[in-house]
């Protein structure tokens, strides 16, 4: 670990702050990020969730989960695991502790899919991470309640380097949630994260990511990778509901035969938020299946670019996978890019993709108004109806309710501009 950190630090120091360009029209730049003014912040351990900023308790109900670990800034400040789960061999702890107490497992999987030389921020994370989270579900075990990880940023000037490692054993079943939460802070902050999940053969995992960094200036530059082994299944639902500037790479790898994944994402940007997502559905082996659906909505002056790649490697025959992405512009200044793409290096596969960028359908609005429903309510209902199939894929009642609530709040905040834009058209 020491060595890998040192090597990563070298890369971090060497690499310049990147600017990402796509298709010649889209740029994500970190020009305005004052990286030297940000630093890791340390906090004391919290005895209960009440001792933490209320964004945590608002999003997490301790009775509902099988375990919870919270990192605030650079410190691991809360850790809970249902004793009956611990007794069965489930591990949910900080990655720092796991390096000591579960060295074998960590060594086997850490960094297998995310390396330090993927860019300045990947290197930063690899070199500078503290706290972190480690989940291990032993083989054959079915865990009913969700296992929860929370990364919290509550002060401007914070740099949070996060690392999560999840290992799910053969034939195990579980539900994992990782949230990024922040209140509306007044100033800049950075979350640079690396997330790796390894789904063992025959295992079945529900994975949800909820990013809600509030309406301050939180920057999120992260990479998340899920690897699915033989005959295993993972249903991954990333949800982006807040962040000043987000640049994320989300990869799902069907690494062995029979693996299957469903990747269903949702974003809703507002104000002057900037969202840049690149997802890859990678099939390294044949007889695998995938399904990617991303839906987004934009208000204010926000901008979102979603690039979704299906990549089928040589020899991965009899792969069947599909990708669709939709964005709904709700204000005159919002901008969205939807870029589905394909790299297919073998034959005898089926892969299709499609994308749309559009606006509220005025016919639907007129229809609803003709039934007495005012414009603002009609728009709200249509946007909620648009997201509903994606929200349902969470298959997680309380998280679904939380997401629906946030979407409704965003629509209320943007009500005037949405109504005005809709009426103008």
């Amino acid at each position: 670990m020491e060595e890998s950190r040192a090597a990563a630090l070298e890369v971090y120091e060497r690499e310049p702050v990147p600017t990402w360009r796509r298709s010649g029209f889209w740029t994500t730049t970190l020009r305005k990020l004052r990286l030297d003014e940000l630093e890791p912040r340390h906090y004391p351990y919290a005895g209960s969730l009440d001792e933490l900023p209320e964004v945590v308790a608002q999003a997490v109900d301790l009775d509902e989960v099988g375990g919870l670990i919270v990192q605030r800034g650079a410190s691991s400040v809360f850790s809970y695991l249902d004793p009956s789960l611990a007794a069965q061999g489930v591990v949910l702890t900080s990655l720092e502790r796991a390096v000591e107490e579960h060295a074998e497992v960590v060594e086997e999987w850490y960094g297998k899919r995310i390396s330090a030389d993927e860019g300045k921020f990947a290197a930063a994370t690899a070199a500078l991470w503290t706290g972190g989270a480690f989940v291990h579900v032993p083989r054959n075990l079915k865990v009913e309640k969700p296992l929860q990880i929370v990364y919290l940023i509550d002060e401007p000037g914070t740099a949070q380097y996060a690392r999560t490692l999840g290992v799910v054993g053969e034939l195990a079943e579980c539900s994992l949630r990782e949230y990024g939460l922040a209140p509306d802070i007044d100033g800049q902050a950075l979350h640079a994260g690396a997330f790796e999940l390894f789904v063992g053969s025959g295992a079945n995992v529900k994975l949800a990511h909820l990013q809600d960094w509030g309406r301050g200036e939180v920057h999120d530059i992260s990479t998340k990778r899920v690897e699915i082994a033989r005959d295993a299944h993972c249903s991954w639902v990333p949800i982006h509901l807040g962040g000043h500037l987000t640049k994320q790479t989300l990869d799902i790898v069907c690494a062995e035969r029979g693996s299957d994944m469903r990747h269903t994402g949702l974003y809703f940007t507002e104000g002057d938020e900037h969202l840049d997502l690149f997802t890859t559905d990678l099939h390294e082996a044949g007889d695998t299946t995938g399904d990617t659906v991303w839906k987004g909505a934009l208000t204010g002056d926000s901008r979102a670019s979603y690039e979704g790649l299906i990549q089928i490697a040589k020899g991965a025959q009899n792969t069947h996978t599909y990708l669709q992405t939709h964005s709904m512009l709700l204000s005159s200044k919002a901008k969205a890019d939807a870029i589905p793409s394909l790299i297919v290096e073998t034959d005898n596969v089926s892969a299709s993709h499609g994308g749309t960028v559009g606006e509220i359908d005025e016919e639907q609005v007129f229809f609803m108004m003709a039934r007495g429903i005012p414009r603002a309510e009609a728009v709200r209902v249509l946007v909620e109806g648009y997201f509903e199939p994606v929200v349902q894929r969470l298959d997680d009642e309380s998280l679904e309710a939380l997401v629906r609530e946030r979407i409704a709040e965003k629509l209320v905040r943007a009500e005037d501009q949405v109504a005005e834009y809709s009426a103008r058209r």
Binding site: E363, F366, I373, R375, A378, V381, E384, G385
Partner: protein, 251 residues
Amino acid sequence: MGLEIRNLHVRTEDREILRGVNLKVEKGEVHALMGPNGSGKSTLANTIMGNPTYEVTEGQVLFNGEDLTEAAPDERARAGLFLAFQYPATIPGVSVANFLRMAVNAGRDEPIKIKDFGQFMRRNMELLKIDPEFSKRYLNEGFSGGEKKRAEILQLAMLKPQIAVLDETDSGLDIDALRIVSEGVNALQGPDMGTLIITHYTRILGYIRPEFVHIMLEGRIVREGGAELADQLEDKGYDFVREEVEASGAA
């Protein structure tokens, strides 16, 4: 009182479609508006409901004496106007039941009690021979033409308007569906509701007998009469009206 259209001129981007329409529908009356395709029937229906695609260049839409020409569609609906669409929109993610409750509540000061709503909805679904399971489906998503039209009439039943405009409700319906829809409308028809049936064909008028028949050609109402006018149309087609109009130089 009721619906009054006065000298209505309507255009879209390209051209003028309604060229001075006059029409009155009182509560308790059943009117039929007929005409060949392109005569402006749907434009009139949509303009009555305030579709922003159409621009009123002259004339008025009055309802119970109030000028609604500039009113938004939801205001018109809450005032007591209803339009059964020829091509109803699909509302994904919203079940029939939820949509109905939303629409019913839009016209009330206090939300309707869930239990009362449930009973009311079930009664109306029975009246229209709609399978109760239907209420859980997303509105109009994957519905057949007949199912969409029956969903429109279900909404009519739930909203109890004063004036109901049915825009080609009969199109795309088979005989059985047509009969069920007509029976539904007839059951709702009474002294408190006026009905304007807009149709191209005379078929529906066999089930819902109109007192007044208006024939539209090229954006104007050119002939008016009683139910027997519809019978004449059935026999002779629209040509006889065209000939009459040309002969009298009214075109």
